[in-house]
């Protein structure tokens, strides 16, 4: 282990880790929006929306995230979508994780006992009211933990934007591996930073989950 070298390069890794944090947060937010829309579409009364939701999930989950990013970033300009690398990274990864979150949210909503919404309807609530006031609060409780699994995968997935040259943690590690020929040191440095982010996120999710869990 070359600790002198590590001390020399770690400020660059910290900067890069901050970019990874920004990417992760923005991607999570976009993913949650896409997931909510996707789940709403898949559970909709309208057949067209259900088909659209199912197609979104199937196409995104059936192809590599890397290809989706390339298609958006390099192919986008041909169809009038001009995004810089960071924006393409957020949009590409957000839409990607949104498909997985769609299934997570749909699963949680379906898992709420049918009697709950039937009872609410009987008591005179509209379909929407029954969903918003009775089903959704119970479903939210069920989705926190599996959404945490999605977010964990997403944080590691942000590494992919290194391939469209966003200067985040993996890109930085790759560049320093190339220039210093010290792969283990650079891996350790980047790895520790990823582990800190993932462990911290895991703790937040667990705390949230404990708070809303029924006794």
């Amino acid at each position: 282990m070359d600790f002198a070298l590590i001390r020399q390069v770690y400020p660059y890794f910290l900067d890069a880790a901050w970019v990874t944090v920004q990417l992760s947060v923005l991607t999570t937010l976009l993913g949650l929006v896409c997931g909510a829309l996707g789940a709403a579409a898949r559970l909709s009364r309208f057949r067209g929306l259900r088909i659209a939701g199912a197609a979104y999930v199937s196409l995104i989950r059936g192809t590599p995230a890397l290809i989706q990013l390339f298609l958006l970033y390099f192919g986008g300009p041909q169809v009038g979508i001009n995004l810089d690398a960071f924006e393409a990274g957020v949009v590409g990864l957000g839409v990607n994780i949104g498909a997985y979150m769609t299934e997570t949210m749909r699963g949680a909503i379906i898992a709420v006992d049918k009697g709950q919404s039937e009872a609410a309807r009987t008591l005179g609530l509209s379909r929407f009211q029954a969903f918003r006031k009775v089903v959704l609060p119970q479903a939210l409780r069920l989705m926190i933990r599996p959404l945490g699994v999605n977010i964990n995968a997403l944080i590691k997935g942000t590494a992919l934007v290194a391939a469209i040259s966003v200067v985040e943690l993996t890109y930085t590690a790759q560049r320093y591996i190339g220039s210093t020929y010290k792969p283990f040191e650079m891996f350790m440095l980047a790895g520790i930073l990823y582990l800190v982010m993932i462990t911290a996120t895991g703790k937040v999710i667990a705390a949230l989950d404990r708070r809303v869990r029924l006794p």
């Binding site: 059936g62 590599p64 290809i67 790759q174 020929y181 792969p183 891996f187 790895g191 582990l195």
Partner: protein
Amino acid sequence: MGLDFSVVPSFMNFLLLGTVWTIAITAAAALLSFFGGVLFAVIALYAPMVVRLPFRLFEWLFMGTPLLLQLFLIYFGLVELGIDLPAFVAGVIGLGLHFAVYNSELIQTAILAVDKGQMEAARTLGLSRTQALVRVVIPQAVRDVIPPIGNNMIALLKDSALVSVIGVSEITLSAQLAIGRTYRAFEFYAAAAALYYVINLGMEAVLRRVERRMQLSR
């Protein structure tokens, strides 16, 4: 520059060759991840403390860092250690180890879920602990865990696109090379996505068949 898919067919053979490599690397890495997963599960559950603790550390590192970073480590790290592997082999090792760790988690749970009586009965019949594990307990655990491992293998197929960055000429890199010649990024990445999608559908169909058969054999 609008869209013009007419350039894609002339590169079709090239992309199909890439598809063969994608299937080859996925199959090789899937095999490694399966047997590696069984081995890791046995280590995690039965190895002595001196082996188990470093192994736990390795597992934690591999589950908490991106696959892309691990591929860089393996590809460049092995060269550092004087082992110059072809990119394909480095890719198989990287993908295989990464998914072996995930498979190991599944297999550990399944081994623990096999009824204790199975091990006891096997021991009573005169099998050694290792024999009982290999011939009685693990086969039952593996049967239970095939559907979730199948899902991991579908994830592996998609993650195999990452080995393009270390220079394995599978679908993704083939598409990139074609784009280098034609500047038609959208068309070739869309074609690549379609190829992955078809392989993915094939794998899902096989998996569903296997699942159905396992349910029948119960």
